[in-house]
Subunit: 457 residues, 2 copies
């Protein structure tokens, strides 16, 4: 019988000792990243100028399990293992026979799942003598996570923050500065990529794609500086699997097995972190719904194409085979800034293409409504990104109410909304709208993509 | 041997079943509250218009232990038992032989210790059929805690927020609104007390004393409405003892005994909550330093007098025997809004007068410095109130470095600073100053107090 506990806790001694690498378990091989200059598959030497070697190895590793170094576990223990909560009050409010569990990643010092990889990346950079890291951030979750991690490992940190979020969320910037980082609104006039955008569009609200271009250029042009990405790449998703590994142990403690696993997707990392250990079970024959939730204003998985594209706007990154809306597409400035990305992690993309993961898109207003319902029942105020996952969770639970199914639903509560209250204020005042994505602009962006043939192995 | 764990956790089944009431263990009897009209000790009937009967009983109870109702424990379990952290990184940074433990009350949904009593008060009001509660809030911690609690028990909530904090911390207001409460800047023109202040001083920044007057008047003049106070009173401190009771269990798990217990004091509730279970041991002969930290700009315990005074500015509350700077004293608008109160809990005051508790005062800048040190070592960003306790903790640990003493220091990490980042920004930019309190104004405020003779029993 499922327990009546509200929080299922693990001891620090029960912290997972290894990350789960889904690469060897995939139902089809992952297409290799392509060098934008040569059109050939990327080698480790191509990535060495911007990433430390250990992360490059993890990026292509075919080992199913990778040991977590003690120094990383020591920092994880500041907040990990994170609690798994049973949403008793929400269940009661909905009148659902479903049992809802949420994995609370908001308890980390920066307030989201992001430090799971930030700490790992800072550690490996430190090991290899790197003294400065440049990165981009959308809503600011990633930038603050990397600032936190760099602070603990004594590394200088420079963050290019998407301008619209920089202006909407001053507190996120101050948080980064509290940890000693420098944060600037992107596009800036300090990089070629930024200047090019500003020439064409001086009032550009910025985008994750633009900010990535700036941070990569910064890393490539500064001494002893590497670049760090908070999502999309294989090694990032790898580090996040600690979330799902813990959740599995926690569900086991209360004799539960997940029937549905839900997360929001921007670049894919919080979703993959929770879901991949369950995808492993699904690939072994278990019946589990794995559901990825994206915003209708940036519907990468539900309206994009699965093909090679650049990760950034300025075409500085390798070409990745992924679902994409086209790297020149600039989504509406919705409040879930972390979900405003034209692409998607290649690992998540492949699993969607293979029908292992089911994508769904929601409009902004319905997700805010879910956030308020959650806050007024469970007491916790979530980030706008997280509210997408909660919307789907509530809808799944309501379906169970109709069918009478007693499903066990697991959702990633990826971050708190304490820095997003201005958006909640606007929602409560009726000042927010839903945004349809600009279909013609996506078509144009996709039409402009290079035709890249997948290398035959 | 003390364990090397970073967080010491309790299971929900280990949640304390009773609150600890220090009243029967006091070294001297508590002077009774005095009715401002009659000059006689207050009876339960005097409090009945503004408090539910169960809280009035708790206010005067001489039972050493009071059972926590199941409905309250059920809500507590959303975040309780809260973690006890070992501050390994801070210890290493300071080079101290001391062991530092912090009780993390910032993990509650509103982000501080305040819901420990807010949930209890909302529950007892609900039990007695109250449909609306009015209260005041300084920095917003209490107002958001009561909003959260009222939301879960389906009670309407009206919050009078000290104007200077209302303007400095818009996010706190939105948080209250997210939970369905109404929050207004005090002084308002909707109460007699507020109008009187505005007539004399239209630009008044407000104070906790003024806001209390407004909320008490609101409760007394609205149907089925009670008043709720977030600190000072005996029943509030009682509910907070769950903090110290948990901490004692947690220290025992790692074979530790506290040599020093530290908390910041505004009205006294987070401090008392952590400290009173340890005061009990001290009164039984154990050698423990119990240290209360206040701001130098509002030095109630270190520069005030122990005498009868009103809890509020408009003289609507009963007279309480406590340390006070005089109810007409308006402290400088420092960022630790929760510590800007002219008075102090009578229980804390008596124990300071009896030399059981040692008070210390710190200047604002030194506390921000401590907050930054803490953020850059332990990763957590604290509230300005909490930074006072951390300053003293760091100083105690540095003393141990000098003397070589391997003390066990326990501190209440009473709240996070996610809504106080504007203050950190100003500190980092060098825009903050220390404020000496206005000695002449305190003298004037104290000189204006009525001479009240303590009733002989």
């Amino acid at each position: 019988m499922p327990s009546e506990e509200t929080k299922i806790l693990l001891r620090e001694s029960e912290l997972p000792q290894r990350w789960y690498n889904i690469n060897p378990d995939l139902p089809a091989p992952l297409a290799p990243p392509i060098h934008p200059g040569t059109g050939k598959p990327l080698g480790p030497e191509d990535l060495a100028p911007i990433f430390p070697m250990e992360l490059i190895k993890q990026e292509v590793s075919m080992e199913p399990w990778i040991d977590i170094p003690d120094e990383i576990k020591q920092v994880y223990k500041i907040w990990r293992p994170s609690p798994l909560h049973r949403a008793h009050n929400l269940e009661k409010h909905l009148g659902t026979p479903a049992r809802i569990y949420f994995k609370n990643e908001s308890v980390s010092p920066p307030g989201s799942h992001k430090p799971n990889t930030a700490v790992a990346q800072a550690y490996y950079n430190k090991q290899e003598g790197v003294s400065r890291i440049a990165t981009e951030t959308g809503a600011g979750q990633w930038g603050s996570a990397l600032s936190f991690a760099c602070c603990l490992f004594d590394i200088e940190c420079k963050v290019y923050m998407v301008k619209v979020s920089y202006e909407q969320k001053p507190y996120r910037r101050i948080l980064m500065e509290t940890w000693g980082a420098t944060c600037v609104p992107s596009p800036t006039d300090t990089t070629n990529a930024g200047r090019k955008i500003l020439e064409q569009s001086p009032d550009s609200p910025g985008s994750l794609g633009i900010a990535i271009s700036e941070a990569v250029e910064d890393a490539a042009t500064h001494d002893n500086t590497k670049y760090s990405l908070g999502s999309v790449l294989n090694h990032v998703l790898l580090h996040q699997t600690i979330v799902g590994l813990e959740a599995k142990q926690q569900l086991k403690l209360v004799d539960e097995e997940a029937d549905a696993v839900i997360g929001c997707v921007g670049g894919g990392s919080n979703f993959a972190g929770l879901a991949f250990p369950f995808v492993k079970d699904k690939l072994s024959g278990k019946n589990i719904d794995i559901i990825a939730i994206e915003p209708k204003s940036c519907p990468t998985l539900t309206a994009g194409q699965f093909r090679y594209d650049f990760g950034d706007t300025a075409q500085l990154t390798p070409l990745l085979k992924m679902f994409t809306l086209g790297h020149t597409f600039v989504p509406e400035p919705i409040h879930a800034g972390g979900l405003r990305y034209h692409g998607m992690a290649p690992l998540v993309s492949l699993l969607v293409d293979q029908k292992v993961i089911e994508p769904r898109a929601y409009h902004q207003l319905s997700t805010f409504e879910a956030a308020i319902t959650f806050a007024r029942t469970e007491g916790l105020v979530c980030a706008p990104e997280t509210s997408h996952a909660l919307r789907a969770t509530i809808d799944e639970a309501l379906k169970c109410k109709d069918t009478g199914e007693e499903k066990c639903i697991l959702v990633n509560y990826s971050g708190h909304g304490f820095f997003d209250l201005a958006a909640i204020e606007r929602y409560l005042a009726g000042d927010l709208q839903d945004h349809e994505y600009a279909k013609d602009e996506v078509e144009k962006a996709l039409a402009g993509l290079p035709e890249v043939a997948e290398p035959t192995s």
